[in-house]
Symmetry: C2
């Protein structure tokens, strides 16, 4: 199947549903792959989704449920009897289960957990004991551990007969008697090795590992940088407790990139499912920043009021006000966006600030001069008396805006705050205040007002 | 090793280098892991980097070179003799090699390619025959294919004796006589299977595959959604030609997220290494958008000029100009940022536009009213005569800004343009023009001017 074929299947089955051909729908949907069913369910309304889900055969229903977003899992769960809900949750992998439980109301989550089998309840409690967004919370507690004295053949036999989920079999861990991690063996290496070699001979004892309380993004970056398929997670005594796998890393990095994206757009750090988000929720996550920016803008208003006489003398100055202050804000947004991303991916670190500031100054000066020529050209047609004023102002506001935009993410990171809080709109507002003051100061001085 | 330990090693060895203890530096650096050496090299200046690299023993030097960014590889390469350069490039994996060759001047790249061994030259030519950012270009041509009539034991023996790079052994491909892909077998499943089962019995024939000309981001999302470790790439005749592996997916998605980040900050779609980027390069990628925005802002200037009489009559209106037009731009930036990201991750698609527009209208109205109350409060102290004007204007500009910000990404995607081109600064400039017209129109009408 290619992407196009999957999309065709989704469209076909949606048409059956929309034409109320429930018989055809039921027959067709049960022949599809879980992922295709997931795509279809995602495109239905909450009510339709519950109905469609009930047409699935039990095995398919289970697989589909596991692959749905936690928000949609939660919606469906409310329509099930408690027995059905417990059955579904019991079958999920421990880390996915914990992610779902985090979405549920605390009381519902607790009641469901008490109904799980003792083994799954224990795994669930282990993960839920760690902070959100840490390695402990996102790891899978299912892994296969080997003894260093085993032969390769014995190890392969252990892999064959183990009931560990197959996704976590790509890397095997070697531990001593007290469960302390002493090495790792990739499944490929085990297969390639000679049958009578010992695990100790083929294991890699230069292990990169994460601690349970390490931040999930940091752990994801370790896997990425070291090209690992899984990374072991150990406790303070270096005892193995789980592993974070590469498929989780893709999701973690995507989630963190989305968070940064939303912060730079001044939306807040929320994970949002747009099709499902309510109006009050969207209002709540957006209004805070907007109000802060409104009150910051009082300063640019006050700056203008201070120069009221200048404006009354030469009203033409106002024509260029949005253009000039926007240009400073735009150049600043560029710098801030680049720095936020570069700090997030680790491309730059705090100590690079001074070096980059000097470079930014030269870039901003070049841009400012070119833009000043542009605006001088425009002004020479409309208001020749202010040509020099707008040209000088343009150069200075672009430099100020760029330096603010570049520095704010570094300053925030210095005080252990999130660099991404240096959003475009925040930089724009700061650049506006600076722009108003620069513009009218130069005008008052140059025009001798 | 944890992240903290790696950082300590990096700091220690950097200190040796900075103290000019070259003997100690040489001894120490050769005891470290390739990834640690990469971290150290990244933090040195280009000249220091060449010197430090020459202290590495041959095997370590090779491994380090493979893990460096293509930009740094290119820098180092220029300091080598051609024989050394060819040797390094010969040892790289084909997809990494192609990425490096893309960075080099065309003539240099061609000369190096002709010096490769026939086998590696052929692989290189294969990948370079495909467009940039397609599955064909980023795939690895190294894979292991099995025959469906083999037993599990024969297959394991083939894996053991193959010289395919071990990273690409996690998934094995089953092909017929004409190399057409008919199934896949995960290495885990091979190990778990009974030794005398045939490959046909254990293979999965519901294969998700990519075409050579599929976009790399789309292929990355297929791996992510289906939780795959590798995806086979086939040509038009469905013959297997390579595979895209999960470690490449992490890099592809990161690269695409960075591109979108830069676009939303109106920086252009370039991949930038900040520590290395030159002033002229940074100037070039930023000035284009800034100049476009300058010329767009002529419209807001013209709007203000049109209302010159209104402004001369009530100069206090100017106090609130930045505040009002910024608010529309800020609300619009929020919407645009959320939509760009949601379209990029596939959370929303074009047909959701109308539904989301209606929701956005309600969100924007609520925000607009609250912000109008805020600005009315401020105005009542400074300029009571314009309270009603600024309050009405605020409500309308927030609604306009939000609808522009939300719609622009959809409109761009409709015309097969990149939604991320709807950057914050662009939305801000459009909202400014609308804001100026709304503000002074209401003022002229309400104040009877």
């Amino acid at each position: 199947m290619t992407v196009e074929q999957i999309q065709q299947n989704v469209d076909f089955i949606k048409t059956l549903y929309e034409n109320k051909d429930m018989r055809g729908f039921k027959d067709a949907i049960n022949t599809y792959e879980p992922m295709e069913v997931v795509h279809i369910l995602e495109e239905l309304s909450p009510d339709e989704r519950v109905i469609a889900y009930r047409f699935l055969q039990k095995d398919l229903a289970l697989e589909v449920f596991e692959q749905l977003d936690p928000e949609l899992q939660e919606q469906l769960l409310h329509s099930f009897s408690e027995v059905q809900a417990v059955q579904l949750i019991e079958e999920m992998e421990a880390d996915d289960r914990v992610r779902l439980l985090d979405e549920l109301p605390a009381l519902v989550a607790e009641r469901l957990v008490t109904k799980l089998s003792p083994e799954e309840r224990k795994k669930t409690a282990l993960l839920r004991g760690y902070e959100q967004e840490t390695a402990g919370r996102v790891m899978t507690p299912d892994y296969l551990s080997l003894n260093k004295n085993m032969t390769v053949n014995q190890a392969i036999e252990k892999v064959r007969t183990s009931d560990v989920h197959r996704d976590t079999l790509t890397t095997l861990y070697v531990t001593d008697e007290s469960r302390v991690l002493i090495g790792i063996v990739d499944l490929q290496d085990l297969v390639i090795a000679k049958p009578d070699q010992t695990i100790e001979e083929i294991m890699n004892d230069e292990i990169v590992y994460a601690m349970t309380d390490n931040d999930q993004e940091m752990v994801a970056r370790m896997l990425q940088e070291h090209d690992l398929i899984a990374i072991p997670v150990v406790d303070r005594e270096r005892r193995l407790v789980g592993a974070v796998t590469i498929d989780d890393v893709v999701d973690i990095l995507e989630e963190e990139a989305t968070e940064d994206f939303h912060k730079i757009g001044a939306v807040g750090k929320f994970k949002i499912n747009f099709r499902e988000a309510s109006v009050p929720f969207l209002f709540r996550i957006r209004i805070g920043w907007l109000m802060v920016l409104v009150f910051m803008n009082i300063f640019s208003g006050a700056g203008i009021a201070y120069f009221e006489d200048t404006i009354e003398a030469v009203v033409a100055l106002v024509f260029f006000l949005p253009l000039l202050i926007d240009s400073g804000g735009n150049a600043g947004s560029q710098s801030a966006t680049m720095m936020v991303r570069a700090l997030a991916t680790g491309d730059v670190v705090f100590r690079d600030w001074f070096k980059l500031l000097w470079k930014e100054l030269r870039v901003a000066l070049s841009m400012g001069v070119v833009m000043a020529l542009g605006v001088a050209l425009i002004a020479s047609f409309r208001a020749p008396e202010v040509v020099m004023v707008v040209a000088f102002t343009m150069t200075l506001v672009v430099i100020f805006g760029s330096l603010i935009g570049m520095s704010l993410p570094f300053v925030l990171s210095r005080f252990n705050m999130d660099p991404a809080a240096a959003s475009g709109p925040l930089v724009t507002s700061l650049a506006d205040i600076a722009g108003v003051l620069i513009y009218f100061s130069i005008a008052t001085w140059y025009l001798g007002l």
